[in-house]
């Protein structure tokens, strides 16, 4: 089987996922700014317009509220839209539609209408795009009941989360970190689906848990390697699903390692990391051997200058320092 393993980029995995979804279900279409002729801001949908035509790959004007709302209406009306918001920064222009329509209509209508919609958006910093193009807003969306929030961090998840998202009768938001698009990995030919329920342990370890997701996963894995060189055996947990959180996998890991650092590219105050830490305190407090720690983005708008941007974001060195401080009290 291993000879058939396919090496591809995260970007190509996203494209394959969209292609397969459009081929599998005639109700599925991709809609968003520059998804067609331009090929997608991050080139995810390059070539798909030629392959599927303008009914299935729909370029929209710069009207986030209208085309996200139209995606919601189309989903209620029986289609299965994949709406691409170019980046999560622009999703603020559609926040009303996502929160007040997509997330509320099923409950507010007493279960009469569901919104089987997938919204994909790029997230995160790292390309010197400055304050307005570098947000990580997935934690905000993970606050909202009614939504499922996904953060694929591997090519396998990029390839297969979409089909699970489209099968969900509820609105699903998929956050693709901009620094992951060029990441390469192998698709296991034995895998043809993934769940969108569970966190995954990406590196087993005994001494502490590094809990993270999305663009911070490669940083946490790098940190684990650096820690290994110091004799600290870190486990890396990829949350994958930011709402609803998979408490069981988080607690199982923390109960074994008794220490945890949560790494989150969102700002610290009111962050997803804060939520994960609180749940650990609520559910596994007496099994901890050290205080919890967080590595989040510094509480400032993300600056343009490279050295300042680097300083603002979680980095392997910061994760290592946080982990070392926790394990230093070991024994």
């Amino acid at each position: 089987m291993s000879t058939a393993a396919q090496r591809l980029s995260y970007r190509e995995a996203c494209r394959q996922a969209i292609r397969a979804a459009i081929q599998a279900d005639e109700r599925v279409f991709l809609m968003g700014e520059d998804v067609g002729r331009y090929g997608g801001c991050y080139a995810v949908s390059k070539g798909l317009l030629d392959e599927f035509g303008p009914e299935r790959i729909v370029d929209t004007p710069l009207s986030e509220a209208a085309f996200v709302g139209a995606g919601i209406g189309a989903a209620i009306g029986g289609l299965r839209p994949i709406v691409e918001i170019m980046t999560c920064n622009f999703s603020l222009l559609a926040l009303d539609q996502i929160l007040n329509n997509a997330a509320t209509i099923p409950h507010m209508s007493g279960g009469q209408f569901s919104v089987p919609l997938v919204i994909r958006m790029a997230t995160g910093a790292g390309r010197q795009l400055a304050a307005q193009h570098s947000h990580s807003l997935e934690g905000w969306y993970a606050h909202i009941p009614g939504l499922r929030v996904l953060a694929p961090a591997t090519v396998t998840d990029a390839r297969y989360m979409l089909q699970a998202a489209l099968a969900d009768p509820n609105p699903v938001l998929v956050f693709e970190h901009i620094m992951l698009y060029a990441l390469e990995g192998e698709l296991d030919p034995g895998v043809s689906a993934v769940d969108i329920e569970h966190a995954a342990i990406r590196r087993p370890g005994r001494d502490l848990s590094l809990i993270t997701y999305g663009g911070s996963l490669p940083k946490a894995l790098s940190a684990a390697e650096l820690l290994a060189a110091e004799g600290i055996d870190a486990e890396v947990v990829d949350l994958r699903v930011l709402r609803p959180l998979d408490d069981a996998t988080i607690m199982e890991s923390v109960r074994r390692t008794r220490r945890a650092v949560v790494i989150d590219e969102g700002w610290r105050s009111g962050s997803l990391a804060a939520e994960v830490c609180t749940r650990i305190v609520e559910q596994a407090f007496y099994e901890l051997d050290a205080p919890l720690a967080r590595v989040c983005t510094e509480e400032a708008p993300i600056p343009y200058a490279k050295h300042l941007e680097d300083a603002a974001l979680p980095q392997p060195e910061k994760i290592v320092a946080a982990a070392r401080a926790l394990v230093g009290g070991r024994g």
């Binding site: 209406g73 029986g78 279960g111 209408f113």
Partner: protein, 328 residues
């Protein structure tokens, strides 16, 4: 009022009855609000009845309706039964949204009624999507999207008008222009106060009609619907109307004087149609008494239904936050 036109006896009385049902239902809601049976926001449609009643005459059962937060009239005119509507006002699980929505969020799947939306302009993008789905799935339906003139100030209005026209969707935009967005008059909110003109910027046919005249509204809506069904894309219909009562139950109406309200009351759509039908020998005293008695019975039954309704168990609070499957 278009004095020379005759709706015919049956249809004229139907229009009158539909408007009276709304007027009486809301009058009772207001009393029930004072009595504490209904809470939250309650936005009355008093004075605007001709708009919904007129427009709904032009729609078929497969057509979709996207409503506003002032949507009791839209809901009743669409055919949502009064009992479940009143039960919704009571917050009972027999309500048309199981008591989860209340006055501002009436939903009815069977009648393709996609909700009162309490974010001004929030329903317009939704209507674009429903119309898109109808066209893509080759269903011969159109979507009627109601909104007030205040929504015209929102970006979502312009984005939705543009998308609907760009994609030539089967969508009827119905602007209920009651001259005030809450307390702010059109002249203080709009650089262009002739709202129907805005459609031209989107290459969309637009028409303004006297929203106090149900026959005029119906005729305009029928023209608009015929144009949409012929495949010519969306249509914009501005209905010029007036809200006789306060914006909501918390509004002291400091922003308009009683003379203005009095002048508009002279143009009450119900009194006007009643007079016209009498003049045309299409409505006798017995007819009117019969209509009124029928509505009183319907209303009494609706209140009894709501009173007898039950509260959803608290254990169901999280039910429908997410659904297990797409409702069919």
């Amino acid at each position: 009022m278009s004095d020379d036109a005759s709706p015919g006896r049956a249809h004229g009385q139907l229009l009158l009855r539909e408007m009276l049902r709304i007027r009486r239902f809301e009058a009772r809601c207001s009393e029930l609000y004072q009595a504490g049976k209904i809470r939250g926001f309650l936005h009355l449609y008093d004075g605007e009845e001709a708009v919904s009643v007129g427009v709904m005459q032009a729609l078929g059962p497969e057509d979709a309706v996207v409503a506003t937060y002032r949507e009791h009239g839209q809901a009743l005119a669409r055919g949502i039964p009064m009992g479940p509507l009143m039960a919704e006002m009571y917050g009972k699980q027999q309500g048309c949204s199981r008591g989860r929505g209340g006055s501002m969020h009436i939903f009815d799947r069977e009648r393709h009624f996609y909700g009162g939306n309490a974010i001004v302009g929030g329903g317009l993008p939704l209507a674009v999507g429903i119309a898109l789905a109808d066209r893509r799935l080759r269903r011969p339906a159109l979507t009627a999207c109601f909104f007030g003139e205040g929504a015209v100030d929102e970006g979502a209005f312009h984005e939705s008008m543009n998308l609907a026209a760009l994609w030539s969707l089967p969508l009827l935009f119905v602007c209920e222009n009651n001259l005030y967005s809450m307390g702010t008059p059109v002249a203080l909110a709009e650089a262009e106060t002739d709202i129907a003109r805005k459609a031209r910027c989107y290459h969309m046919p637009g028409e303004a009609v006297d929203g106090m005249d149900p026959m005029a509204v119906e005729a305009a809506a029928r023209r608009a619907v015929a144009a949409i069904r012929s495949g010519s894309g969306p249509f914009f219909l501005e209905c010029r109307t007036y809200r006789f009562r306060a914006h909501s139950m918390f509004d002291a109406q400091l922003y308009r004087d009683k003379d203005e309200i009095g002048r508009w009351r002279q143009r009450d759509p119900i009194a006007g149609l009643q007079q016209q039908l009498r003049d045309q020998q299409l409505l006798g005293s017995d007819d009117l008494a019969g209509l009124e008695a029928g509505i009183e019975r319907e209303l009494a039954d609706a209140v009894a239904f709501a009173e007898a309704g039950t509260l959803e168990p608290v254990s169901d609070l999280l039910r429908f936050v997410t659904l297990d499957k797409v409702p069919q």
